[in-house]
């Protein structure tokens, strides 16, 4: 059957073009791949090749014609044995319009709901049963125990990174793990973050559960393409066929006196990415319980630690298998006057400020988010409904901070409950300086948190 040749779209944005030149004439035989015409698009002059073989029966659009719409018939191709008389019966392959999907989008964010403020359902169950024996442990020990327990439980879990094995960990997090699990499962990598992060993601695709340690998250910027493009997006891009069950972990944020390139807080960066989960714990029990949950999670988890917290001791429940669920905040201190929300090392400022404020008769409720994606916004809103005031605390930069996001959620979901604007206490909008006095000022301080609370409580 004679077929119509249609004006092709030769770029993603082309809607019409100029038929600059015909390179065949009526009666010519063409084979697939032969160049038939030159077409000027919005970007360039392109050659247009024949797809089917046949004889050029008729040229419908003369060369030099401008503004030829995509899908306009430009010529008719005849099969062997056909004549130009068959052209009448030529029917182009209909470019059938996409069939409309019948299901409507789920109305998760229907605007009508914006002004209603129902009290959120919040899980306030305790992290461990009453009467559980507690032991004092450093964050460092708790983190190692969490990883080691999961490696005993599951042969497919392994840890890789710079200096994790023979050196026993640049910050001694993996101390003793090489001895227990051997070089097959505790793997020293060369200093090559982009490469080993990619190998880690590939190993996860291949059925393992890697823990990829970055000596610090500053160096993960070299690997961020694999974290986001390869790990976070593959489940979606594959229509759910495969994903990256793995943990990227390491210290994040400022340590002490290490300057601008080694002192960045990436919480807000990773929090933005669908497909990732992001934990940023404060206490030792959360480091352990969240690490175990992270390793078992079938999705890529960013586990943001803090070097200054590694040596701090906290109560850790003495349980065989202690886990903490993602998306469940912990209220460290109850109060009626103001809500202070933080996570990671920001909690030290929040708690210190709350203690000093209590001496002045201001009772702050202090909430530790523990994971910032998923984020327990319900716990924040429930608290704000009680206190009507909110201050957020983090070490990261102010523009596009975690606190900014919390503020927008609270404004949309608890606007009527706010008696003062939300204040975000953050690190200063500067690269981290080296000088001791400047560094101290670049970070968020307890004094700033106290000042913010006084502002929102009008004291």
């Amino acid at each position: 059957m004679a077929t119509e040749i249609l004006m092709p779209a030769l770029s993603p944005t082309m809607e019409e073009g100029t038929l600059a030149k015909w390179l065949v004439k009526e009666g010519d035989t063409v084979n697939s791949g032969d160049i038939m015409a030159e077409i000027e698009t919005d970007k360039a002059t392109m050659e247009f090749e024949a797809v089917d073989e046949g004889i050029v029966g008729k040229i419908l659009i003369a060369e030099g014609t401008e503004g030829v719409k995509v899908n306009t018939p430009i010529a008719v191709l005849l099969e062997e044995g056909e004549s130009a008389d068959d052209i009448e019966s030529a029917k182009s392959e209909p470019a059938s319009a996409p069939v409309a999907a019948d299901k409507e989008q789920s109305s998760e964010t229907a605007p009508a709901a914006a002004m209603e403020h129902p009290e959120p359902q919040v899980d306030t169950s305790p992290d461990w049963p009453e009467g559980t024996t507690l032991k004092q442990q450093t964050v460092r020990e708790a983190l190692r125990d969490g990883m080691a327990e999961e490696m005993r439980r599951d042969e497919d879990v392994f840890v890789m990174g710079e200096e994790v094995a023979e050196y026993q960990g640049a910050y001694k997090i993996t101390q003793g793990m090489l001895d227990e699990f051997g070089a097959k499962r505790v793997i020293d990598t060369p200093i090559t973050e982009h490469g080993f992060a990619g190998i880690g993601v590939g190993a996860a695709f291949g059925g393992l559960k890697p823990i990829v340690e970055f000596m610090t998250f500053n160096f993960a910027m070299q690997a961020i393409d694999h974290i986001i493009n390869s790990a976070a997006k593959t489940l979606y891009m594959s229509g759910g066929q495969m994903g990256a069950p793995m943990v990227f972990r390491g210290p994040n944020g400022a340590a002490a006196r290490v300057g601008a390139q080694h002192s960045q807080d990436y919480a807000a960066w990773y929090m933005q990415v669908p497909g990732l989960k992001v934990a940023m714990p404060y206490s030792a029990s959360d480091y352990k319980g969240l690490m175990k949950t992270a390793i078992r999670d079938p999705n890529p988890v960013i586990f943001l630690e803090n070097e200054i917290l590694y040596g701090r001791s906290f109560d850790v429940p003495d349980l065989d298998d202690y886990t903490v669920p993602f998306g469940k905040a912990r209220t460290w201190r109850e109060g009626d006057d103001v809500t202070i929300v933080s996570f990671g090392i920001g909690m030290s400022y929040a708690l210190e400020a709350a203690e000093k404020l209590a001496e002045e008769g201001i009772n702050a409720e202090v909430i530790d988010l523990r994971t910032i994606r998923p984020m327990d916004t319900g716990a924040i809103i429930k608290s704000v409904m009680k206190t009507n005031r909110l201050v957020t605390v983090e070490e990261g930069w102010p523009q596009g901070s975690v606190g900014n996001y919390i503020s927008s959620v609270v404004m949309q979901e608890a606007f009527d409950y706010l008696d003062a604007p939300v204040i975000n206490c953050t690190g200063k909008d500067v690269p981290m300086p080296y000088a001791a006095n400047l560094e101290k000022h670049a970070l968020v301080t307890t004094a700033e948190v106290i000042e913010a609370v006084k502002k929102v409580t009008y004291r």
């Binding site: 160049i35 899908n71 409309a100 080993f196 291949g206 390869s230 593959t234």
Partner: protein, 352 residues
């Protein structure tokens, strides 16, 4: 000095496709030869159809066709065993068809429909098949190289004897992560075949203008990785080289590099103005080195197949491709609910 001369000739002279002639002709049956003919023809006709659907506006965005390079994947798949893995870049339609993925599912992904391999959410550059051990379909140049080594890492960890074919182009060969990966793959003896599909042009920049080495595979020597250059327009030469590489990896000797010299007839993507090479250069390749014509001639001259037999194959392929186009047009667009699915898994999907 000799080395230097050879190198400078290769860099300044005409593109030389005659790389390493295989010394012994591989023993191949008429049926195998016919299967390679069929598989290569399927890729070519499929890609021509994809180009046509793109022209009709049914395929959007980027669309990178594999026409001219068919012998690479068909030759290497002939050297693979069940359970071996493969991963590649965004020029991935040929790899998917060659490893046995369903043309309907591939074409429907190109048109962004529910029946596509990724339910329409991946597109031309992002498709996967757990069943066929095809791990994508990656749009960031060279990202698939460490990912492929990671797949090989998993196989070595599990001691299952599998190998991974990690495909990338001559353009990707200038990315730093390739050499980070070579280093670790060699250190850890990963069963990974690095397949450099050298089609001579990194988008529109020729190898001479972008790459300091005339022979890219020789870069592996710096890491102690053996390799060879292969004539990528000869499916039997590719198969033979693939068998060498697979045997090396399966024997636990670590990675192997195949630099397969091939040629892409079409543009880098659909919107390539093709100003960086002459029409004559492309035509010469098509006329003199076409991998499908070569097998066709072999079949006819050796009397392994008649014109009628080959017409039968052509007809069969035409039907498969037309059916895939019909399927891809008729399959509905994904339901809007799909926007919100597959962001987080509740169980590890590749184990489910």
């Amino acid at each position: 000095m000799l080395n230097y001369l050879a190198r400078s000739n290769a860099r300044t002279g005409e593109m030389s496709m005659a790389t390493k002639k295989s010394t012994k002709k591989p023993n191949v049956s008429a049926d195998e030869l016919k299967a390679y003919y069929r598989d290569m023809l399927l890729i070519r006709r499929f890609e021509e159809k994809a180009g046509q659907l793109y022209g009709m506006g049914l395929i959007g965005g980027f669309c990178h066709l594999y026409i001219g390079q068919e012998a690479v994947v068909v030759g290497l798949e002939a050297a693979a065993e069940d359970g071996d893995k493969r991963i590649t870049s965004y020029r991935d339609h040929g790899h998917m068809l060659a490893c046995g993925m369903d043309p309907n599912g591939v074409m429907a992904e190109l048109t962004g429909r529910e029946g596509g391999y990724s339910k329409g959410k991946g597109g031309s550059m992002h498709m996967f098949s757990k069943e066929k051990h095809f791990y994508g379909g990656h749009g960031i140049v060279a990202a698939q190289v460490p990912l492929g080594a990671g797949l090989a890492f998993a196989d070595k960890y599990k001691e299952n004897g599998r190998v991974t074919f990690t495909y990338f182009g001559d353009g990707a060969a200038n990315q730093g992560q390739v050499y980070e990966t070579f280093n670790m793959a060699a250190l850890w003896k990963l069963p990974c075949i690095f397949v450099i599909e050298n089609n001579q042009y990194a988008m529109g920049t020729s190898q001479q203008r972008s790459t300091s080495s005339a022979e890219i595979w020789e870069r592996g020597k710096a890491f102690g990785i053996p390799g060879e250059a292969v004539d990528g327009m000869d499916v039997l030469a590719v198969k033979a080289a693939g068998e060498t590489a697979v045997a090396h990896c399966r024997a636990g000797k670590g990675p192997y590099i195949l630099e397969i010299k091939t040629y892409r007839y079409r543009g880098h993507s659909m919107s390539d103005p093709a100003k960086y090479r002459t029409r004559e250069e492309v035509q010469k390749m098509r006329d003199e080195r076409d991998p499908i014509e070569a097998v066709r001639n072999m079949l006819l001259q050796g009397k392994h197949a008649s014109e009628e037999d080959l017409k039968g194959i052509d007809k069969e392929i035409k039907k498969i491709v037309n059916d895939s186009a019909d399927f891809a047009k008729d399959s509905p667009e994904p339901a809007l609910d799909e926007l919100w699915t597959d962001i987080y898994a509740t169980e590890i999907p590749q184990e489910a």
